[in-house]
Amino acid sequence: MTLTSRTARLAALILLLLVFTFGCWNRVELSRLGLLAAVGLDKGQPPDAVRLTLQLIRAGEVKPPAMGGGSSPAVWILSVGGSTVFDAARRAALQSSREIRWSQAYTVVIGEEMARDGIAPFLDFINRYRELRDLIWVLVTKGEAEPVLKAEHELEKIPAKAMDSMVKASYATSFVPAVRLHDFCLALSAEGQEPFAPGIEVIPLEETPSAEDTEGGDRSGVGSGGQGKQRFTFRLRDTAVFLGDRMVGWMDDRETRGLLWVRGEVKNGIIVVRSPGSEAGDVSLEIIRAHGKVTPQLKEGRLVVRVEITEEGNLEEQLSSGDLTKPEMFSQLEAAQSQAIAAEIQASVDKAKELGADVFGFGAAVHRRYPQLWKELGTRWSDEFRALPVEVSVKAKLSRFGLTTTATWPR
């Protein structure tokens, strides 16, 4: 193959363009970055509109001390105010020696006050910023976000990682939902569907004066100063319900599971029912699989929403003495299980109607099935929803009863 000098020059030029025009020319050094674990959003003190709390990972401290890691906290909490989120984020550079990298963040925690005032403007940056993954978890806290980020966790060195794992494991109870930023924003912009997010709250750790404290080992990120400082941790609790971008109230754990039943998001969990028969005592039933279906129907010109749940569970624990493996007992248990599920859903629907927030997405289902009707109802859906009749039917089934047939009970 022979190349004329003209084509050779052209080829060289194209190759060079290929290298220099693609725009990823950005050499950084991982060890010079401050990796962000979690970000908290709070209402700022005037004139600041927002206060940003950043939980930064001190990578050198994450390893256990024997492996060269330190015994000091693995995170550093930084709190900055600004007129916008990005403004505050850049102001953080005035305090941080390392460039803050948002791409590794696990969660965004939103303070209740800010949530109630409307969070859409502040989510814009979170949504838009190239470094942030939209798979991060959204959490809403009762109170301010800052103490949540400052709270520690006994099992994980990076508290945000604990939040991440807890949200991921929320299916174990289905008492809190798991909501990614992406889903939250989708719900925010969807018609006939209101967003919701799991709640997180700060709780005190039982503090006994330990040798650590007297030695002055400072492992607490909360409440600087003071000898017997109170240490805090956090736990997931309840669900924040939004109307538009404004938070309007909370659903408790049973109401939350009612919500998740309808949305078909219950994967696992425990239902406790009274033992059938004469003996007193509770019985735990584990949810193995569940499926929820929402069908809007027009009955004599009235809009009705039918919710059908099919569920399968196992008998896992019995506090009573009777033999529950008899077929008639089993069917009674199944009935009790269905009732419990229906009650959870009813409680949830009642709460949502009270708040006027259609977190179930009934509106979206109506929109899909009766688009013409939706044109009329959509504008005043919140009010329509309050009056919407919801029919719940549950088909619950029990399959297995574990390794023993009889109750563990003395003769």
């Binding site: 290929l18 290298v19 693609f22 990823c24 020319w25 950005n26 050499r27 950084v28 050094e29 991982l30 060890s31 970055l33 990796l35 674990a37 990972i57 990578a59 050198g60 401290e61 994450v62 390893k63 890691g69 990298r101 791409s103 590794q104 963040a105 696990y106 470094e131 990076i158 990682k161």
Partner: protein, 568 residues
């Protein structure tokens, strides 16, 4: 799919033209002091071409003494064969010959014949006739009548003994080669688990015999070709008549004939002169120390080239996938072999891409790392003063020094190097925070992975290209790696080996090519030879059908017992 005939063959060479005599340089002091009467023609060996052996022994000896026999290791032993008979001289090089054979079967035999002649008990042998001596006196199997003076020199220098007879312009070249040689032993570079333990040695005849023992076929052809102008070295072409494409052999002959150098001192020199391109880091010929692998490839349609003095054979044509095949692949179940091939491929991939991928991820795209991994890497790099690219270069350099040191070091010191290298580079450097522990893992893995190939040349190529890829990765990240890989692929596709595209079996595809490159099909399915060599006979086996189901052993046992019972 089809490839064109090799375009890059050299023009046919008409004759071997000896190099024109050049003036003696000050360094060329191999020749003895010349008396002024001698002409300068005798200064170069090539000038002796065409000179006949003088009939007068004195003249021949005088010429020898001014020629090769001026060297102290060349011995000229003059004899008087009988009282009235002619005189003779035996010429050989000390160290290249088996002296016992000369003493007993040449000189001893001549003396014996002389004695018979004197006693008159039997009609004596006419000791003035070369033919008579050859036919009736000498007890040497390998003989040749020669009459050119250059042949005398060539014979003597390759370990033969030349018998010169007064009054005859014909001399006898007697095969008495017998120098100290290494015995056939296990190959140092290519070990196998179940394969034969024989490796080539430094003696060509032994090596050829080793291959011949693998292929006992009249079709196996061996061609000796002498290469080199000042010092001749024998190169053997081995191929199968009726299988190997004659164009391959012809090309090799022509390219060998075109070599015009002082001396060929290694098999690589032969490989260098025979390959299609030299502006490439990629090896264009597979070299192997194993006679069995050589034989396998010769049967597959390749040409094997063996060089005297080198324990390696060079195989042409060779394609890239050939470097992932080893002898061990044919001594075990195809299931396991397929797995080990994958491991080998993966190791090649790791050698080339692991360190650059790491650099790209942590230096250009840290966003792509999962959080836990990012934290763990950042934690291990905490306190390391260098950027990762400097760190990786430090480690690569340290490894190359270590590797080079180990190769040069005598065997028993190897362990020392291991300890020193492992401690210094592994632990101390990490503890001193010069490098991070993850980097040590990466470089160690790269190093180990580079030693998985049977032929070390291809891994050496990866190691050569690695620094460039590292720089590109540090500057442009994964995109840069992709571009560089493209560049290398573009280069590979431009290579040929004896006209065969270097990427053959992958592209162009040949029937059955995929059955034995990345995976290995069951032995019974490997029905064709390596078709990219364009063999004259494509199939190497017919489909195998088992002639019978195995009989029931218990029934057979019973039958036999019954028969024995009947017999008693």
């Amino acid at each position: 799919m089809r490839w064109k005939k090799p375009k890059s063959l050299p023009e046919p060479i008409k004759t071997v033209t000896p190099r024109p005599a050049r003036p003696l340089l000050p360094g060329d002091s191999v020749w003895p002091e010349k008396s002024s009467s001698e002409t300068s023609e005798e200064l170069t060996p090539s000038s002796r071409f065409g000179q006949e052996i003088p009939a007068k022994l004195d003249e021949a000896v005088r010429r020898l003494k001014s020629g090769i026999a001026a060297s102290s290791d060349v011995i000229v032993r003059e004899l008087v064969l009988s009282d009235e008979g002619p005189r003779a001289a035996v010429v050989f090089v000390d160290g290249l010959v088996d002296k016992k054979r000369i003493d007993e079967y040449i000189i001893g035999a001549l003396r014996q014949a002389d004695r018979y002649g004197l006693s008159g008990a039997k009609p004596g042998v006419d000791l003035s006739s070369v033919t008579a001596i050859l036919e009736r006196v000498l007890s040497v199997s390998e003989t040749k009548e020669i009459n050119q003076f250059s042949e005398v020199e060539a014979g003597v220098l390759t370990g033969d003994t030349v018998l010169l007879l007064d009054g005859s312009s014909t001399a006898l070249d007697l095969g008495t080669k017998g120098w100290d040689k290494r015995s056939v032993s296990e190959p140092q570079t290519e070990r196998t688990i179940r394969g034969p333990r024989e490796g080539f040695v430094e003696t060509l005849s032994t090596n050829v015999a080793l291959v011949r023992r693998e292929i006992a076929s009249p079709d196996l052809r061996v061609e000796y070709i002498k290469v080199g102008v000042r010092a001749k070295r024998t190169v053997a072409l081995m191929y199968m008549k009726g299988i190997t494409n004659p164009a391959i052999v012809e090309t090799a002959r022509k390219r060998l004939a075109a070599i015009d150098v002082d001396a060929i001192l290694s098999d690589y020199a032969v490989e260098y002169y025979l390959q299609d391109h030299f502006l490439t880091p990629f090896p264009l010929a597979r070299s192997t120390e194993r006679p069995d692998f050589t034989a396998r490839e010769v049967l597959n349609g390749k040409l094997a080239i063996l060089t005297d003095g080198s324990p390696f054979s060079v195989l042409f044509p060779t394609v890239l996938t050939d470097f992932f095949r080893t002898t061990d692949d044919y001594t075990g179940s195809y299931t396991v072999v397929t797995l080990t091939r994958f491991v080998r491929l993966l190791a090649n991939f790791i050698t080339f891409f692991l360190a650059p991928g790491y650099i790209a991820l942590i230096d250009v795209h840290p966003d792509l790392l999962p959080t836990d991994l990012a934290v763990s890497i950042a934690g291990s790099r905490e306190g390391v003063p260098f950027p990762a690219i400097i760190e990786v270069f430090l480690m690569v350099i340290a490894f190359e020094i270590l590797r080079e040191g180990t190769v040069r070091l005598p065997g028993m010191m190897g362990q020392t190097i291991g300890i020193v290298g492992g401690l210094v580079i592994g632990q101390a450097a990490v503890q001193a925070k010069i490098v991070s522990d993850i980097m040590v893992i990466i470089i160690a893995l790269t190093a180990i992975a580079s030693f998985t190939n049977a032929d070390y040349q291809i891994a050496a190529t990866w190691r050569l290209l690695l620094p460039f890829l590292l720089v590109v990765a540090a500057l442009f990240g994964i995109y840069g790696i992709a571009l560089f890989a493209l560049l290398i692929i573009a280069h590979i596709t431009s290579l040929t080996s004896f006209g065969v595209p270097y990427t053959a079996t992958v592209s162009p595809v040949y029937p059955g090519g995929y059955l034995d490159n990345f995976i290995q099909a069951p032995l019974g399915m490997l029905r064709t030879r390596l078709l990219f060599t364009r063999p004259l006979d494509k199939k190497k086996q017919k489909p195998y059908r088992q002639p019978m189901e195995h009989p029931d052993l218990a029934a057979a046992q019973k039958r036999a017992e019954r028969r024995r019972g009947d017999g008693q």
